[in-house]
Symmetry: C4
Subunit: 345 residues, 4 copies
């Protein structure tokens, strides 16, 4: 796609600065979080078509392994029960070798014949004779093959799906940084596989009082000390230095809470095993910020022997630290004009 538009109208330009990352400016309920900690959105949908909303494949690819196996087992059970019922209707006497001595034994053999057909194991102790039983079995074995093809697809989808398992520190901190202070959080790769070419973007969203007294949600990009690394073998503390040009300058934790500030984190990387692009999102609400703290090192004491050892359980470990006297948070109204147009493509 390369339809470039060389000259923008001023009016268009002005509006473009009022960007909203796609959330819109109307979400101004102070209790509404834009982005949940797990990266999902706070929007409910209705009126979509049944099949669109069902979206079985995506759900089965995304759900937990426990739920996945539970669903497969239930499905296997229910399908065999249904087919046992169908064989009963057709007449189980058409299943050669089935034990017809009692209703219970008859239905049991129909059920197990169904399972042997569905999985295509087909021992043959019980085998269909006659048109109808044979037809049902022929349909069931085809269904079994298709279901199995689906299971293979699902398993491959689950395994090969590009996911960034990034651990975020529980809290973001405000900490001394060089001769100023910095807004920081820490990340580490939860998995043993490698992520390369990581890019991080941080945006601050606050509720601003308009001249007409209305609340409007605004978005500010935060400059980072480093927004990109080539490799990510250890932990990485992402730092936004709170200099005079920062939209956070002069704001203390209480001010941020008052402004309903939420810090949106977007990470993009390349997963090294399958060379796929992966994304990770999270947000820190102003209530999840600790002012006056620093992160403890994550390296294990037993380094040496030429190998650096990283302890993942220390990701959220912080120590108290006093902020320099220079950092005097005062409530101030963030001016609309200062909003940086931070995400022109």
């Amino acid at each position: 796609m390369n339809l470039l538009h060389p000259k923008k109208d001023k009016l268009v330009e002005a509006e473009e600065k009022r960007r909203d990352l796609g959330f819109g400016t109307q979400i101004n309920d102070p209790d509404t979080r834009l982005l949940n900690r797990d990266g999902s959105f706070n929007v409910k949908r209705e009126g979509g078509g049944f099949w669109s909303e069902l979206n079985i494949f995506n759900r089965l690819v995304v759900c937990s392994w426990g739920r996945f196996f539970e669903l497969i087992a239930s499905f296997y059970l229910v399908l065999n029960l249904i087919f046992a019922g169908i064989y009963e209707i057709v007449g189980i006497e058409n299943l050669q070798g089935a034990d017809m001595t009692s209703v219970r034994s008859r239905l049991m053999d129909a059920f197990f014949f169904s399972s042997q057909t569905l999985t295509t194991v087909g021992y043959g102790r019980i085998a269909p004779i006659g048109f109808w039983a044979s037809t049902v079995a022929a349909v069931e074995s085809l269904l079994g093959l298709l279901i199995f093809a689906l299971a293979t697809s699902l398993l491959y989808g689950r395994f090969s799906r590009p996911v960034a398992h990034i651990l975020y520190s529980d809290k973001a901190i405000i900490s001394p940084y060089l001769d100023v202070t910095g807004f920081m959080f820490r990340i580490v790769n939860e998995r043993a596989n490698q992520l390369i070419d990581l890019q991080v973007e941080v945006a601050m969203s606050i509720l601003e009082k308009q001249p007409n007294g209305k609340l409007l949600r605004r978005y500010y990009g935060l400059d980072l000390e480093r927004s990109k690394v080539n490799f990510f073998p250890t932990n990485w503390t992402i730092v936004h230095p709170i200099t005079q040009t920062s939209p956070m300058f002069g704001l203390g934790k209480e001010d941020l809470v008052k402004l309903d500030a939420e810090f949106l984190i977007l990470i993009k990387a390349t997963e090294d095993t399958f060379n796929q692009t992966v994304h990770s999102r999270t947000s820190y609400h102003s209530r999840e910020i600790v002012a006056g703290a620093k992160f403890s090192p994550m390296f294990s004491d037993k380094e040496g022997a030429g190998v650096v050892t990283l302890d993942l359980t220390k990701i959220s470990d912080i120590q108290e630290v006093s902020l320099s006297s220079e950092y005097v948070p005062t409530v101030k109204e963030v001016e609309i004009g200062k909003q940086s147009d931070f995400f022109i493509g």
Copy 2:
């Protein structure tokens, strides 16, 4: 690919401005739509090789689920009939256990033996003996495995195929926008999965009368208020502000119809579950424009509880609105020189 060409000849530059998005300038039948509403093209092909045009895999991946299962069922039926015929030729007496009492029962058992071989269920009530029957069965079971491998491929292809299910409003509208008017349409994600990093491009195609009286199709890129969002959890109204620099400036709906105007929409996004790039295309013909309307909100009344609720059925809901007196559409000849060179890569 990085063969850059630093200095372009003026002649080449001039020709480059006469870009056509790949449709060519000769499609000037006013009744011919360039792009259908579903994003497909209006071009028929002939003379391609049989296999090239057949393209079974792509068709089976793209077709509807109903058609897919219909084709699989027919294929299964036909293949079993063919093999039943082959076993009849070889001699069904070589199928141990087959019911030879009548032609009908014999052929039936051959048919079901075939299905039991193809699905590899192989109960064994009927089993091949002798060279020819065994050989046919050996070939059929291999074929069964390959067909099943194909089915697995097809199912995975169908499920993992990157598709953007974007709902477009039925009509595009011309609506008041800031202190001018705007050309607008609305989109929403039909599926519950997330699309991120959406980019939208809009081009207007019109039939221009050349100095020599010939009609020539021309293409103009339209500047958008916003052409990119990071997230797409709710609906998005795409706006082209009709300012003085707009190629639509001063054109009313009747003028657009007269010029056979067609608005081509191109959307590119990243699907979040599998992190794949997805495309969506559509077009609005000038006949599908409503001048003097605005979109009704899509949010449900039962918001609250910290969750925004979106009603997908409202995507095309519009309300009448009067356009400002400033917007006085007058027929004017669009000058060729004003055509913006909007899609240099």
Copy 3:
């Protein structure tokens, strides 16, 4: 990867201009084509490891369908023969139900038992008893499953492999273009699926006589009238205008043949069904150029009804045309200094 190197040494810059697309400057045998018509390279390799060179998966994914099924059938046959041999060694009397009346019938039943095990159809007319026969059968059925998993992988790989089926005109032509002449060739999508966002790059490679009399292969990028289109529903004639800045300026067909000119074509596009990037390469040797010709239209006569019809068989149809008197080819030595540095990334 983002290790940028801001300031380049002059020496480095000078050497960079002597780029060679990766072929090197030593390939100066006039009979050696750099790129074959099908896009493959003219380089033989030896000394690679056996497995590296074997590369079974890639070969089976790339080979023709005929060869693919031939290989699968042979493999199935050979594997069953081998296992029949193993069962003979273990003792076919351990295969319950096998016909032991003659050596021939015994080996036949071992062979078919093997095929029934490998495909996991397992009728059970013949079934293993005792430790050794059962063990061999257990190993064979596992092997069968793995081979079948491999076949599924191969089929999916074959089908989902991103390939651009682009038809190139047999000849490149030199044709009148605006007020000069142009080097042209024509392409069309062989398949019914869509290619979007096509990018084309053309480079000319010639053998230049150095001041010391040595022949050196040089590469020049050719500016195109249009190097990119958004859509590709019909045919596309790619044009390099031979203006005064063109490295082809003043060279006739005989001069190009004398200079052993070869035109390397690189195409990059996005396949619309699976949204994959696809590449296509070819080359036109100077012997495959027709000077004084133009391409005949590819549109079918039976257009109308609002649908454009494209006849793929006309891709190479050309008509004779006289070149303007202005185009007077004269042999000239191409100066080294004029070489454009056309492919800095």
Copy 4:
């Protein structure tokens, strides 16, 4: 992701220059290699969740073929032993056809029945009767199908995983280059498939003594004669010219060893069969540099017949060569200010 940050604070800029590729500046043990020859990192992890660290799929995709088949065979054996035990508990007399004459024969038949169920071959010589044996068999056959689906996923994952098999010369060399010297190493594609659009980046990491006497790891990007090629059919010698602007200028091999210099190599390319992006990493430690050598040609003597022949075994072949007298290595302190900010994205 396109949150751009237009104006950077000077403080942020200064810190950005102190980039570390993601390794951090604290890894200053002279015996610790940053990157191993095979491209892996020297960081150990602990405290990760059991399942995160287990990461079975990734391991099975990445491990060698020998190990892969070993694991599959062991898993098959162990699973059948477990199920044989379960059938013994349930009572092997419920397996119709099992040889109950001795404990050994009974367990053997349970084991082989299990293998026939797991692979779904199901001959039926042994078949379950009664509720419990049938239930266990039904579960086992479902398990078999899922395991087989997993195996298919694994095989496809192993085969389709984008890997660049790039052979690096054993040693990097310092060799005469134009009128100066150059740091060089040589690469060739180990596989017969094509790599296109190769990009190479080289960074030098050294331990610098800070004014306070502390050692700090620093990173310098090295300008290359050519950092990109379109095609890679033959070998490619990557050259960093050691001009006055090079951070290597004036440093001999002993100086590099003293500074614990390590040269990090990053390669990015597109694999042509599946059009996937592939990465390759390696590093040369200063101890792996040969000063005063040049690479021998890799072309085979039996060229001719229009085909260039490449001998892969010659990749590391070097010949001694004397460096120009101009190249007088002297120990010098590398100044911190000269560090080039080489990897701004």
